[in-house]
Symmetry: C2
Subunit: 253 residues, 2 copies
């Protein structure tokens, strides 16, 4: 998109399962128009920097006078691990994007926060690119529900994820990262992808419950991985029940 439409050029601070670091930023030849951090880094297993790493990264951006943007699609889910309030976290960046349809469980949509003049420009570009809808009421309503009902539960979801990730390895399910940084983490099993998918679907058909998104082959032959996300439905089970169920469904025929 942005490359083709606007001629943007991207430099990567990190690739794969690595977090962008202050050191990587220091080494990048300038000048940079903006720096973007995804919090958490989903393709790395929902990894987060520590608060100290994050604030030191932000300080370097300020020093270099380059605007820092947070892709905070799961920023709500990141606050418990970072150990700071949402306003403090967002305060490290110049602009922050948040998603309405992930942790907030809204229908769709997003918001960008930042200084008034920057947001006015964002609004103009949204109009130019055809992104201004006649009404966004359904999205706004469902996002407001999420802010009221989901955000206060994020610490509970994170605690549950940490507890579940602690139990799973003993039952034969590997986890990454350990402990999880957010309410979501990777789970890995020594089972072929087709077999584990067929077990998941058999369970889904019988119980009308989908435990995980689709599985993919891991780097290690014979292993597969998927993501496990803790949400309000997960809390219907105790951690022991959830761990036992995952092991039963994913590891036995």
């Amino acid at each position: 998109g942005p490359r083709l439409l606007h001629g943007f050029r991207f430099e990567h601070l990190s690739t794969g399962a690595e977090l962008p670091t202050r050191e990587a930023l220091a080494k990048l030849p300038g000048p940079l128009a903006a720096v973007l951090l995804e919090l958490p880094l989903r393709d790395a297993g929902y990894l987060l920097p520590t608060w100290d790493e994050l604030s030191s990264f932000a300080a370097l951006c300020q020093e270099k006078e380059v605007p820092l943007h947070f892709d905070g699609a799961r920023l709500w889910e990141s606050a418990p691990y970072l150990g700071h309030g949402l306003a403090e976290i967002a305060g490290l960046a110049d602009t922050a994007y948040v998603s309405f349809y992930k942790g907030l469980r809204g229908l769709a949509g997003a918001a960008v926060a930042g200084p008034e003049d920057v947001v006015a420009e964002v609004r103009q570009w949204r109009q130019r690119m055809g992104g201004t809808l006649f009404t966004m009421q359904p999205y706004a309503v469902s996002a407001l529900r999420g802010l009221r009902e989901e955000v206060p539960r994020m610490a509970k979801y994170h605690d549950y994820a940490v507890g579940l990730a602690e139990r799973l390895p003993d039952l034969g399910i590997a986890v990454f990262p350990d402990p999880p940084h957010t309410n979501a983490f990777r789970i890995l099993v020594p089972v072929g992808t087709e077999v584990v998918m067929s077990r998941l679907l058999t369970f889904a058909e019988a119980e009308k419950t989908v435990l995980t998104p689709p599985w993919r082959p891991a780097d290690v032959p014979g292993w597969s991985w998927s993501e496990f996300t803790v949400g309000s439905a997960t809390l219907d089970w105790t951690i022991d029940e959830a761990a036992a169920l995952l092991a039963k469904v994913l590891l036995t025929d």
Copy 2:
């Protein structure tokens, strides 16, 4: 938008209250990448060409081998005047855009119809420009309701508009076009804009009913104009009642 983002250059087939004609197209120096017709032409008072004019215009596009696109935001409302079915009308164009939130009374959204390869390209550009939402279910649901409940009433709305436009001049309200081409037309009164707006708002406050969109000064000093759109709520009044009410609210203190 398109000018700035994609370097599009536009030539106008007509400006102001004139309809684009086959003659105007024939005179335009080529080559053209595409020709766009708005049906009806809203800024001209919801004007439509006749079916013969439209099909002859489309034939010239085919002759010139330039794709014809219908901006059919109010295409549903145009079918009764054109006297042909929606599929026949759309069949004159290479691609057609329809709106979900005007005549269909959906929440927002639109659709583009055309040959598979063109729509595949449209889909790709929608993605690139950030217009692909995680879900569009609320819009789709409300548009489907409109297709089922509003489209079959379009002829009735148009008939009502024609009947109402016939009654209004005797009561001191001018109309354009006469007869209306769709379910919407312009109404004009020999009253200053502030006065007519204040009468409209007094009525809206008392009766919780907004009769028209905001009024604007007409070219003729002392006159003002607005649009009147016939929809399902209008049918709660007989044509005589609606005409009398408009005259009472707009023309008397």
